[in-house]
């Protein structure tokens, strides 16, 4: 056990990371974000705005100068997040070496794989709109023509999941349909069926009817109902229930704040 001394950082205006929807106000937080989000760090994260924050708010003028010079040079731009980690002394040399290896591994990937990793990363951040954008780029890129059926099916499957995440069920259905075209996967079929349960206006295509045995239907219906039941027991749901048990004045104020928070979250997803 040991402690890391925090340097005095006179941050008056925290740095907003739109992709993560959060503000950072110290060099340690900056390092933590970089280290745990290498794909974000590789996606043009170290830009002029960040360098200005490092110089003016974190008062790390030497680091800002180094990054500025590096940015203007012909050197490998992937090195910039590593420079930040090295200069802030939040991670050990061993951890930084591991981070560098991770970046190298990403760069060794094929263009399609790397783009999928990036899209998956945004998917995990629940930024479904950005994830869909990257998945579509893989499918649209004329340079990537040698995709296997299995890989293409996975991409369409993920697009379907992303659309479902933003409650755009028609688009999700189309994407799962495309996925099933490339790979006849029973899981995909299950999702297609469950989408019709979530949105009864959606109709199943004829070709799936024969595959939907009564037994399968029952099992998938039960699975969905179990999930719904579990979701009803969620902390967030409990909070809403609690909210409605309060007096009207507090309820109004708190529900307003909650709705604003949900709106913000949803906008981030798009």
């Amino acid at each position: 056990m040991s402690l890391i001394v925090c340097r005095q950082e006179p941050v008056k205006h925290p740095f907003y990371i739109e992709r993560l929807g959060l503000h950072i106000a110290s060099s340690q937080e900056l390092c933590y974000v970089i280290y745990n989000n290498p794909l974000l760090a590789l996606d043009g994260f170290v830009d002029e705005r960040l360098i200005r924050f490092i110089r003016e708010e974190l008062d790390l003028t030497f680091l800002a100068g180094k990054l500025e010079t590096w940015r203007q040079s012909e050197e490998e731009q992937d090195e910039m997040p590593v420079i930040i980690l090295q200069e802030c002394y939040y991670y050990t040399s061993r951890e930084i070496a591991k981070f560098r290896q991770k970046i190298a591994a990403y760069r060794k990937m094929s263009r399609a794989e790397f783009m999928k990793e990036t899209a998956d990363y945004y998917f995990t951040l629940r930024q479904y709109g950005t994830a869909i954008h990257y998945y579509n780029r893989i499918l649209e890129d004329w340079r990537i023509k040698s995709l296997t059926d299995e890989f293409t099916a996975r991409i369409w499957n993920n697009i379907g999941a992303a659309y479902a995440g933003i409650f755009w069920f028609e688009k999700a259905m189309t994407a799962y349909d495309m996925s099933y075209n490339f790979q006849k996967n029973l899981d995909t079929l299950k999702r297609i069926y469950q989408l019709t349960l979530l949105n009864p206006e959606l109709k199943l295509k004829e070709r799936y009817m024969a595959l939907l045995t009564a037994e399968r239907k029952a099992a998938w219906e039960k699975e969905l109902s179990d999930i719904k039941e579990k979701a009803a027991d969620n902390e967030a749901v409990r909070k809403v229930e609690e909210l409605f048990s309060r007096d009207p004045i507090r309820r109004k104020a708190e529900s307003g704040a909650l709705l604003a928070e949900w709106k913000r979250e949803y906008r981030k997803m798009l």
């Binding site: 402690l3 890391i4 959060l22 933590y32 050990t92």
Partner: protein, 407 residues
């Protein structure tokens, strides 16, 4: 800046104030008098004059009143002990101000007999009231004042041990200091003890009483000094304003030793420190170990550029009242703060761990803490640890862990 530099010995009975440029010492009783008809306060001769005339009410034992939350009711108005002390200090400091024509106090060191946090805090409140910046005010013990006084003398005065008898109306104390020269910085260790043989100074007014006093002192000197080597012996306090009443004692201590009599020793020692605190580099390049100073070094293990090291939060020899600090850390590894406490004898080093299990569970290095250290005396440290979270990633809670650590 060319303000007043003052060393003050503040006791319940008398207050000594020593001033630099011009070098002068004022000795006044620690009493304050309030005019019955006006909001006017007096000290020194004026206080007695107004009390004798009958238009003033005098209050004494001001330090005890502050320590015991005492109050005084004058003309139906109740005054707290702290207010009386404020008035006394304001009026007392007017004496050197008038004499020198200087208004500003550049440095003020107050020596008190016993370092009591309540009294020390009250003195700092008084400094605020008197518009003296806290950074210019230091409170030290009589022992430390003795040490500064001796160390400002010629080397031969302190090259070995130095003993001192302080005979006042309040107590009879013995002080002793010695130099420890080591590989590192020189250490000066001083200590004091209250002598049970203390007596009221009125006793000395009769020949029989004086003879008895002389015998008491001889017996104390015999017991305390033995046949040890002393560079010098110092006598201070009202009881030694005149030493004629103790011929045997004087003969005994003067044998093969230098003996000095300095009545305002504590205020003069405080003045030495006040002067020194204005210097860019101290003239007293030694570690001072005595009442009011820490006897242990407190540090925490820190990680810096891949290397583990110790960050000293308070060092042996630091003034414990002033050794307050607040530092922010990130907790790495197990959720705890481990203090390393190294006393003067490093073999007695101990580790004290404070668990942070009450704070929320978070990934490694995502808990920022604010660690505040303070001391209630030289043996007790208070550590207050606050959870500061880790920005918006892991928001802070209002959890605070407070623990008393015995040094």
């Amino acid at each position: 800046m060319d303000g007043l530099v003052i060393g003050m010995d503040l006791c319940n009975t008398y207050t000594h104030m020593s001033c630099r440029d011009p070098e002068k010492t004022w000795v006044i009783p620690t009493v304050v008098c309030k005019n019955k008809n006006r909001d006017e306060w007096y000290v020194d001769e004026e206080a007695y004059a107004h009390t004798l005339v009958g238009d003033g009410v005098m209050e004494d034992k001001l330090l005890t009143q502050v320590q015991k939350d005492g109050t005084a009711t004058i003309n139906d108005i109740r005054y707290e002990g702290l207010y009386l002390l404020k008035m006394f200090l304001e009026k007392a400091l007017e004496l050197p101000k008038k004499e020198t024509g200087k208004e500003e106090i550049e440095s003020l060191v107050i020596a008190i007999g016993s370092l009591d946090v309540k009294l020390m805090d009250s003195l700092m409140y008084c400094a605020d009231y008197l518009k003296i910046d806290r950074s210019r005010v230091h409170i030290i013990s009589h022992t430390e004042s003795f040490l500064y006084y001796v160390m400002s003398q010629k080397r031969e005065v302190w090259s070995n041990q130095v003993g001192m008898f302080d005979l006042s109306e309040e107590s009879f104390r013995y002080y002793e200091m010695k130099i420890q020269r080591g590989m590192r910085q020189m250490q000066v260790v001083a200590d004091s003890e209250n002598l049970e043989e203390g007596f009221h100074l009125d006793v000395l007014e009769t020949p029989a009483g004086a003879k008895l006093g002389d015998r008491i002192l001889c017996s104390c000197a015999d017991r305390l000094l033995q046949k040890r080597l002393f560079s010098s012996i110092v006598l201070t306090g009202k009881g030694f304003e005149n030493t004629d009443w103790a011929p045997e004692f004087m003969r005994q201590i003067c044998s093969r030793r230098r003996v000095f009599v300095e009545n305002s020793l504590f205020s003069r020692g405080a003045l030495m420190k006040a002067v020194d605190s204005l210097q860019e580099r101290t003239s007293f390049a030694f570690t001072c170990i005595c009442e009011g100073r820490l006897r242990s070094t407190v540090s925490v293990k820190v990680l810096n550029r891949d290397k583990e090291g110790q960050l000293v939060l308070a060092a042996a020899g630091d003034n414990w009242y002033e050794a307050k600090s607040t530092t922010q850390f990130i907790v790495a590894g197990s959720p705890e703060v481990e203090f390393s406490i190294v006393p003067l004898d490093p073999r007695k080093k101990k580790l004290v761990k404070i668990s942070l299990d009450d704070f929320p569970k978070r990934p490694d290095r995502t808990t920022r803490i604010s660690l505040s250290l303070g001391f209630t005396d030289e043996k007790t440290m208070i550590a207050v640890i606050r959870d500061l979270g880790f920005g918006e990633l892991f928001p802070p809670t209002d959890k605070v862990i407070k623990q008393e650590v015995s040094l």
